[in-house]
Symmetry: C2
Subunit: 110 residues, 2 copies
DNA sequence: TTCAGTGGTTCAAGCATTTAAACCGATTGC
DNA sequence: GCAATCGGTTTAAATGCTTGAACCACTGAA
C-alpha cells in the first residue's frame, strides 16, 4: 500500500478516535472507568459513583456525558434510575486499528 | 488471572499512558504528527512545521514540547537547528498493551 | 396530592490550556 | 564585531474545561 494512502487512512482513524482519546486521557474519567469496571455488567448509578469517589454528582454526570458521547459507556433506565455501563462493543476498540496503522507507518518509514 | 489483578494492571497501564493519550487526543498535535510523518526519518525543524501549518512558532514549540514529554517525538541538534522526528520505539506502542488489557476486561466481565 | 429519591442542567467561579508578541541566548557568515 | 537565522521562554490575554450550588423535572410510594 502507498504511504500516502496509509497516511490518509491514519488521519481518518485519528479523526474518529479523537473523542475517545481525549475522553480517556483525563484522570477523573479514568477513575470513573475503573469504578464502572468494578461494577461489572449490571452497571452503576450516578449516585453510587459519587459515593465511591471524591467527585460531586454534577461532576460525575458531566464526565459520564463525555464518556457516553465518546461511545465508551452506555446507559439504561429503570424508572428514575440510570445505570451506566461500559459498552463492550465500544469505540475503545477503534483504537486497535489506530495503533496498528501508526505502528505500520512508524516501522516502515523510519 | 484474577479480575482484581487485571484491574490493577489496567490502572498502572493507564497511568503510564495518560500523557500519551492526552497528547494525541488534541487535534493541533495530531496535525503536527501528520506533518512529522510526512517528513520521514530525517525529521523536521520548528520553522518548517510552522510554515506548513497555520500555527505560530511558539505554538509549534509548545506542542512539540508536550509530544516530547509524552515520549512520542525525539529531537537531534545540528548546530542551531533542532530536528524533531517520531520516535519509532515510541510510548505510542505502550497503548497496545493498554488496549489489550481493556479488551480482556471488557469481553470477560460483560 | 404530597413527599422523598433520582439525576440532568444551568450558572458563575476557579483553574488550566493555548496563543502570539516580545524577548533571550546561541551560532554562523560576512 | 555585526547582522541574520534559529528556536526556546516569558508574559499576558483569550479561550476552554471543571466544579459545586442551586434549580428543574420526573417517578413511585404513602
Amino acid at each position: 500500500m502507498h504511504d500516502s494512502l496509509k497516511l490518509s487512512r491514519l488521519k481518518s482513524d485519528f479523526k474518529s478516535c479523537t473523542r475517545v482519546l481525549s475522553a480517556i486521557g483525563d484522570e477523573t474519567r479514568q477513575l470513573i472507568l475503573f469504578t464502572l469496571i468494578d461494577a461489572g455488567c449490571d452497571g452503576m448509578r450516578v449516585g453510587e459513583i459519587t459515593a465511591q469517589t471524591h467527585l460531586s454528582r454534577p461532576a460525575v454526570s458531566h464526565h459520564l456525558k463525555i464518556l457516553k458521547n465518546a461511545g465508551i459507556v452506555e446507559v439504561y433506565k429503570v424508572t428514575t434510575m440510570n445505570y451506566y455501563y461500559l459498552d463492550p462493543s465500544s469505540k475503545l476498540m477503534d483504537l486497535k486499528k489506530l495503533i496498528a496503522g501508526l505502528e505500520d507507518l512508524l516501522i516502515v518509514s523510519q
